[in-house]
């Protein structure tokens, strides 16, 4: 089971790594060129795949950027790409047909594609009218009821009412294998409606941020949306095992994800750890947890923030608030020798703050006695606070 978890975590890491590698790193304000293409009649929904000489891709994933039909120039499609990404492949039919790759100069280009092997490149304008302006776009994904067909999006800018598309029901969303319909809409849009069946069924107006968004729509058209990919890989729960000091009553676990700050529990001090036998306590938490604190005595004593690897079971051995060890395999803990009656009582590990005032002996320079107390009290206060509360950086 443990091996399976490891494999899963490694797989997720690998997927995330691959995704990050394929992502575009181009900012919004880079120099861009327009790529026009006239494609064979049996090429539908052409796209452009582009990359820089250093391998940086212009688009997140194959088949690349969708080419828009130029209404003023039938048969011509266009797409803006960063000027640096002059290595280009034109493809269509969801990537099933494509040209060879070829290198464009860093200026607007017109490509006449007779077939996959025959491409004529020109830097002279081959279309009529104004070249369309570059408009940044963001993807909208929608998952709809199975009775919804011909899913479209209607998009506009509220409150001035500028529409992204000429007529209702708007732009057709492309069905993906994932079950999501997807379309890119202009960055200035802040309101959308998902509709289907020729506009007969629809959601209410949805006010959104211009950022990649996933909209889920039920049969009645009631929609919810999120900016976090609902299909992102989910990591299994992990178990946190804890050995806590004997004088920490009712040890609790506080757990969260950094840096996004998502907490597992609604309020401090978190959830009580359960007895796992052999001196260990345990609690299951989501696998995305990467930060924990063990605390006791209703949160009045605690460890520091412990950064841990996500997706791995943990063994946390707390000797005292300042001395904590974290393991990813169950550690061998040597049994402590029984104290004998002749031994002096063990001293608690006093905070190091007691050494602070010694650094500022008054005889060194006639320092005001108040000042000797300040760092000491401040440090003790800090330590007291540190040990008594969750936080701070």
């Amino acid at each position: 089971m443990k091996d399976a978890k490891k494999v899963l975590v490694l797989f997720i890491v690998a997927v995330l790594l691959l995704l990050s590698l394929s992502m575009s790193v181009f900012a919004d304000d880079v120099e861009r060129i327009i790529v026009y293409a006239k494609v064979p009649e049996d090429w539908t929904e052409p796209c452009v795949w582009a990359w820089a000489d250093d391998g940086t891709n212009a688009f997140k994933a194959w088949p690349g950027g969708e080419m828009e039909a130029d209404e003023n120039n039938p048969g011509w499609y266009y797409c803006w790409i960063p000027a640096e990404t002059g290595n280009v492949i034109i493809n269509a039919n969801e990537g099933e047909v494509q040209t060879a790759d070829f290198k464009l100069e860093a200026k607007n280009a017109w490509l006449i594609i007779t077939d996959a092997d025959t491409v004529e490149i020109s830097y002279e304008t081959k279309t009529t009218g104004e070249i369309p302006e570059y408009v940044e776009k963001f993807p909208v994904h929608a998952k709809v009821d199975e009775n919804w067909e011909d899913v479209c999006i209607w998009a506009w800018l509220h409150p001035d009412g500028t529409n992204a598309y000429e007529a209702w029901p708007g732009k057709t969303m492309k069905a993906k294998d994932t079950g999501w319909y997807t379309v890119n809409v202009p960055i200035w849009v802040n309101s959308i409606i998902i509709n289907a069946n020729g506009g007969e069924v629809q959601t209410e107006d949805l006010t959104i941020d211009p950022a990649e968004v996933w909209v889920t729509v039920d049969a009645e058209g009631v929609a919810e949306f999120t900016y976090n990919d609902p299909d992102a890989p989910v990591v299994d729960d992990i178990t946190v095992y804890v050995k806590s000091p004997a004088d920490w009553n009712e040890p609790h676990l506080w757990a969260w994800s950094a840096p996004d700050g998502t907490n597992v529990f609604s309020s401090w001090p978190g959830e009580a750890l359960q007895d796992a036998g052999d001196g260990w306590l345990l609690l299951e938490v989501p696998g995305w947890v990467n930060s924990v604190i063990v605390n006791g005595n209703e949160g009045s004593v605690q460890t520091a923030d412990l950064s841990v690897d996500a997706g791995k079971d943990l063994w946390v051995v707390v000797t005292d608030a300042e001395n904590v060890a974290v393991y990813y395999e169950k550690p061998e803990i040597p049994k402590e020798p029984e104290p004998t009656e002749t031994e002096p009582p063990a001293e608690t590990s006093a905070p190091e703050v007691t050494s602070e005032p010694a650094k500022e002996e008054p005889e060194k320079g006639g320092i005001n006695p108040l000042l000797i107390a300040i760092p000491a009290v401040a440090a003790i206060a800090g330590a007291g606070v540190y040990f008594s509360k969750k936080k701070k950086s």
Partner: protein, 403 residues
């Protein structure tokens, strides 16, 4: 015989003392060396160095970057062999050093009328128990920042109620209308000040349970409900940098990384609290030059020249251009480049309401006490008034322990 011997010894001792007092400034080949400790970024240090090189060859200024500057000063600030002659740092520790007796007032070197050309807030920050211990050069305050892709310039909330409504409408699906370090004392102070409350006043009296502070904390809770419960530094800044938050309150030090992230950054005045009519008034930190007593006597004339050199407009303007810091001297804002720098001018505007961070020693204990209070209220859901009273008692106990 013994009597003569005693007289001789006394004469020797007195002579030695006078020799010490009248020791000429450290001259080698006619040059006086002034050592200044600092912890600033390269850009700021380079501006200072260039400006102070104008004093050569009579005076050579050595700028030494010092990690752990504040602790080092506590240890060696009164040791002529180890201490620097001056240091360049924020104002908030000067009360501690003044009490330690290691600082010389800058009014011993500069005519007080010269300081009338500075923003009053910066001189207030430099003053402790009636003495001015710092020559201010620039200051920093928190800023209201927004992502212009999400929040249009004409939709920036002008009041806290507008902000609250904005948060209610836009905090959905993993995006936030506004995020801040809601349970950090430095950030909470702005809200408290807008209600007329305070963390600690000039007399060293904590104000955590004043009705104004309690009102601020109570009012602020409803905003926290629309923020991530984990409101620490990394969370807040990452959310804004990754375009998952529309707006935030943050320091100017974040601006470079935010811009590098591709965020179209907008800066705006702090929202005004509807209930009080006062804008959120964050703490300000004033950076400037301090003179150590160990150098005040023996390098008096050279120190005067160093300070005078830094009272010109050129240095404030140059620092503003180099690193976006807001000059302390008013006339620097007449410079066209400074006047069109959005970040500098936003800080200048915020400075009209900003409160200098307390420079009294007692403040040292207030940070953690206040943050505990904020955690109790914002994260543990405890009663505001009871928590505030408990925190006030804790603060008073700790301050009493100092004395």
């Amino acid at each position: 015989m013994k009597r003569w011997l005693a007289i001789l010894l006394i004469v020797c001792l007195v002579t030695t003392l006078f020799v010490g007092c009248s020791q000429p400034e450290e001259i080698s080949d006619g040059t006086v060396t002034i050592t200044i400790w600092h912890d600033k970024e390269e850009e700021v240090a380079a501006v200072l160095q260039t400006e102070l090189e104008r004093l050569e060859p009579d005076i050579v200024v050595k700028l030494e970057r010092k990690d752990g500057l504040t602790e080092a000063l506590k240890l060696v600030g009164n040791d002529p062999k180890a201490a620097p002659d001056m240091y360049f740092f924020a104002h908030d520790k000067l009360g501690v050093y003044a009490e330690m007796g290691i600082l010389a007032p800058i009014s011993d070197f500069i005519d007080a009328t010269a300081l009338e050309a500075y923003l009053p807030m910066t001189i207030e920050a430099a003053t402790y128990k009636g003495e001015i211990y710092q020559l201010p050069l620039y200051f920093e305050t928190l800023l209201y920042m927004y992502n212009r892709r999400y929040m249009k310039d004409d939709k920036v909330p002008k009041t806290t109620e507008e902000l609250y409504e904005y948060m209610r409408k836009t905090t959905v699906g993993g995006h936030y209308g506004f995020v801040e370090q809601h349970s950090t004392a430095y950030y909470s102070a702005g809200w408290i000040h807008a209600f007329g409350g305070y963390i600690i006043n000039e007399e060293g009296q904590p104000g955590l349970d004043s009705k104004e502070t309690i009102a601020a904390l109570e009012y602020h809770k409803k905003f926290v409900e629309y923020m991530p419960s984990e409101g620490e530094y990394a969370t807040v800044n990452t959310l804004f940098r990754e375009a998952k938050a529309h707006s935030t309150i943050g320091g100017p030090w974040l601006v470079p990384t935010i811009r590098e992230s591709g965020i179209d950054l907008g800066l705006a005045p702090m929202p005004v609290v509807n209930e009080t009519g006062k804008a959120i008034a964050p703490y300000s930190g004033v950076q400037g030059l301090h003179v150590l007593k160990v150098a005040a006597g023996k390098k008096h004339d050279a120190i005067i020249k160093v300070l005078q050199q830094l009272t010109g407009d050129e240095v404030g303007i140059a620092i503003a251009k180099a690193s976006g810091c807001a000059p302390a001297k008013l006339s620097c804002y007449d410079d066209p480049d400074v006047a069109k720098d959005l970040m500098v001018m936003s800080m200048y505007e915020t400075a009209q309401n900003a409160v200098p961070m307390p420079n009294i020693p007692e403040m040292d204990v207030m940070w953690t006490v206040t943050e505990n209070l904020l955690v109790d209220i914002n994260m543990s859901g405890k009663d505001v008034t009871e928590s505030a009273k408990a925190a006030q008692k804790k603060a008073l106990d700790l301050i009493a322990s100092m004395k």
